[in-house]
């Protein structure tokens, strides 16, 4: 570590996040390394180290011979300022070497509002922002993650995208780079070759043309580039690489626990949910493999908490078998086991009671909409009865804390639906009055509403976002109908969700907006301390781009969509059909009650969809 860094560290908050040196960190001898990858997470250490995907790919790359993958996170504002004052370029944790010295620079992107951090990190690293400004193989910038399913707003900056799950594709990409570097290829040749790896999308191989009204006129693949690029998936999760010797941070992170993913994909088909469609098809992992990995992970990390994660853990067929084995193990080892995203069914209730023996957590529901009509529209099949009976049971078991999450601005929403939220909350209070056992402590109901953001690759990808004024009116309306003191109501500020909507369905013209905003100081937008909407508004104005075009306008069904080049497995006809059904208020049963024909099963060659 340089003297300079040692001098800066005492002046910043939580310096341990900048030094590396944690348990499980990978160190390699530089002489043995041919390809160095700086794996960047476009947010702070605490957020990034909580990301399982990054941990998996860190392991995947580091087990390659001659490859050293190191971690890079966005510095907090105080560190960033010190870096600028002292001209200290962004560094990677393991070697503490500057990012600009690395062969490849990878980003994993899970949230649109971290786009500013990507650019800011490249600026702090002293790496040219635009892909076209980076000559040769050095500093090859690539990116993956859920946001890569509409990569267009970042097309100017990223050399290529790796779509879908990276366990198998990432080593192919890095190995190709290894070869290219050894043979001294040009960047053009490398991009051409890398685009032949399934799942790799090179934005510079496509020209986007626009109509006078701003909509896309056509997307032209250049030089024989494929019309669409299909995301990658891992078919057999049991044999897929999963690192059980992960890094254990020495400082507290957001999800400070071991995390085990029990299956991938989702059978539910909630029409607003991007992950629910873009992570299909459903692939299982066996309870035996999971149990072994859980035990190995715990033994290696020394964590005292483990969480079973997935998009809907109740839908994991092996849940009973797995928890029957894990609960005694965890109790014996003083490990607390948490199972989030359970549905309100009978087995889950029993499971919750069993888990309580280790620790008692709160009760959380995400009905998303206040009336059954609207829940049918969005295909969220959680009924009022399920919510109320689970609450009643929990209240009689001593629980007195409930969290409820809703969205406002969903397609077809009326004031009646908004007030339905208040009504549902009122009914929960009635249940507590009837069944609550710890009345002295009092009931606390925490209600939060989010501003609906239409996402690509969902049946709602064409929808309008309501205006911020209308959103706030609905928030106010709801607030006026909460009478009880037990209710705590939070609503997200519309600014961030509006920008999220712009970038989620954005096109290539937004690159200039992001760059302008970042150059004027936008970064860490996911943090209230730093988010500055005015900077973004100014950037849109400077670039002559209208936010409403991407939000309240809505997209036509005939329109060419910026993400039409990207194939996540679910086909457009299915999404359109789901959209029609939404407007008719017709639910689509979950995939286990009959295949709805989304098309994602066609991604599988060796196994069947496990829905």
């Amino acid at each position: 570590m340089t003297d300079l860094k040692r001098r800066i560290l005492p002046t910043v908050q939580k310096p341990a996040r900048y030094t590396g040196g944690e348990w499980g960190e990978i160190q390699k001898k530089k002489d043995d390394v041919r390809v160095r990858v700086a794996f960047c997470f476009p947010d702070t250490y605490e957020i990034g180290m909580s990301n399982v995907g990054m941990r998996i790919l860190y392991g995947v790359m580091n087990r390659m011979d001659g490859v050293w993958c190191e971690r890079v996170f966005a510095p907090w504002g105080d560190m960033e300022e010190a870096m600028r004052i002292h001209s200290l370029p962004l560094w990677a944790l393991e070697s503490q070497d500057p990012v600009k010295d690395f062969d490849m620079i990878a980003f994993t992107i899970g949230y649109e509002m971290s786009y500013s951090n990507i650019l800011n990190m490249l600026l702090l690293a002293g790496v040219p922002l635009h892909a076209s400004e980076r000559q040769g193989l050095h500093n090859m910038v690539f990116a993956g993650g859920v946001c890569a399913f509409n990569p267009e707003p970042l097309a100017d900056f990223i050399d290529f995208f790796s779509l879908g799950e990276g366990e198998e594709s990432t080593p192919q990409i890095v190995a190709l780079y290894d070869c290219a570097k050894a043979e001294g290829w040009s960047k053009e040749r490398f991009l051409k070759e890398v685009s032949r790896i399934p799942g790799v999308y090179v934005p510079s191989f496509y020209r986007h043309e626009y109509n006078p009204d701003g909509t896309l006129k056509r997307i032209i693949p250049l030089d024989g580039a494929p019309e669409t690029v299909t995301k990658r998936i891992v078919e057999d999760l049991d044999s897929a690489y999963f690192p059980t010797d992960m890094i254990v941070p020495s400082t507290e992170i957001v999800h400070d626990r071991a995390n085990l993913e029990v299956f991938r994909g989702c059978i539910r088909g909630c029409r607003f949910c991007q992950a629910g469609f873009s992570c299909r098809p459903v692939r299982k992992k066996s309870p035996e493999v999971l149990y072994r990995q859980a035990v190995e992970t715990m033994a290696h990390s020394g964590n005292n908490e483990i969480t079973l994660s997935s998009l809907s853990t109740s839908d994991y067929r092996g849940l009973k078998e797995l928890t029957d084995r894990l609960i005694p193990y965890c109790a014996d080892q003083h490990i607390s086991l948490s199972v989030p995203s359970l549905r309100a069914d009978n087995f889950s209730r029993e499971l919750m009671e069993k888990l309580q023996a280790v620790r008692k957590s709160g009760l959380t529901f995400a009905p998303e909409a206040g009336t059954q009509r609207l829940r049918d529209v969005i295909n969220k099949n959680l009924t009022e009865e399920e919510i109320l009976s689970t609450c009643a049971q929990a209240f009689s078991g001593g629980w007195s804390n409930v969290k409820l999450y809703f969205m406002l601005g969903l397609p077809t929403e009326t004031d009646e639906d908004v007030l339905g939220i208040a009504e549902l909350v009122y009914k929960i209070i009635q249940e507590w009055k009837e069944h609550g056992t710890s009345k002295k402590r009092g009931l606390r109901i925490h209600v939060a509403t989010a501003y609906f953001v239409p996402k690509p690759h969902t049946p709602f990808q064409w929808e309008k976002q309501i205006s911020p004024q209308e959103y706030l009116r609905r928030c106010k309306l709801l607030k006026e109908h909460f009478y009880s003191k037990s209710i705590e109501y939070d609503y997200h500020s519309p600014d961030l969700s509006r920008l999220e909507a712009v970038f989620a369905r954005g096109d290539r013209r937004l690159g200039a907006v992001i760059e302008t905003a970042v150059r004027s100081g936008a970064r860490l937008d996911g943090w209230d301390e730093y988010f500055n909407y005015a900077k973004w508004c100014a950037a849109f104005q400077d670039c002559g781009i209208e936010e409403n075009f991407y939000t309240v306008r809505g997209y036509g069904e005939e329109e060419i969509l910026p993400w039409d080049t990207i194939d996540v497995g679910v086909n457009k006809q299915f999404l359109l059909r789901e959209r029609r059904r939404a407007y008719e208020g017709v639910v689509t049963p979950d995939c286990r009650h009959g295949c709805a024909g989304c098309g994602a099963n066609k991604l599988l060659k060796e196994v069947e969809c496990d829905a």
Binding site: P15, A16, G21, W23, E252, A299, G302, N304, H334
Partner: protein
Amino acid sequence: MPRALFEKTGNAVWISHLDLMRVFQRAFKRAELPLTHTHGFNPRPSVSIALPMSVGIESCCELLDFDLEGNPIPNEEILSRLNEKLIRGVRVMEVYDNGQKLRNLALMDCALVLEFDNGIPDGACEELKALFSRESLCVEKKGKNGVTQQDIIPMIRRMDIRETDEHSICITARIFCQNPTLNPMQIYSAVELYRPKLRADEVSFRRLEIYDIQENIFR
């Protein structure tokens, strides 16, 4: 209850007190040394560090009390198993039983190294000696109840100030570390406050040894 004497050096100095407790709890677990747990709503492994230390301070005299359940394990084995599973910069030097009562821990030797990139200012040592020879020297102390003024002179038993090379001055001091507590960083705060010209380009802090009130080494 066994006690461990450990050091905290290198990059580990940036780990906060609370985080260091977690680092130890996890290292015990990795070493398959089962800590007893507190009985409460959220059972926690029982480890405690005698003197919480500010971030950035190096030490070779830290004490950690812990309690293991199950069959007794020889102290040497605890030491080696723990060190195998600890991160770089945190190293246990000794594990022993029958440690002295923590309430008798009173004094500490600490060292402050002040580095001056452009060489030590003329007469700096003399000025510092004069400063710390005063009858009283009040500096701000940030506590739970906000900022208070604290006279640091009564908490310094002795002090030695010398130039170690043309760029650095080393201040070593025997100070109270418990009832009352003087944070070595406050010694430098006094320099910054009363002799702003002697503000150093870099200051490092190190705990050297701990003592009881009679100045016997404390273990």
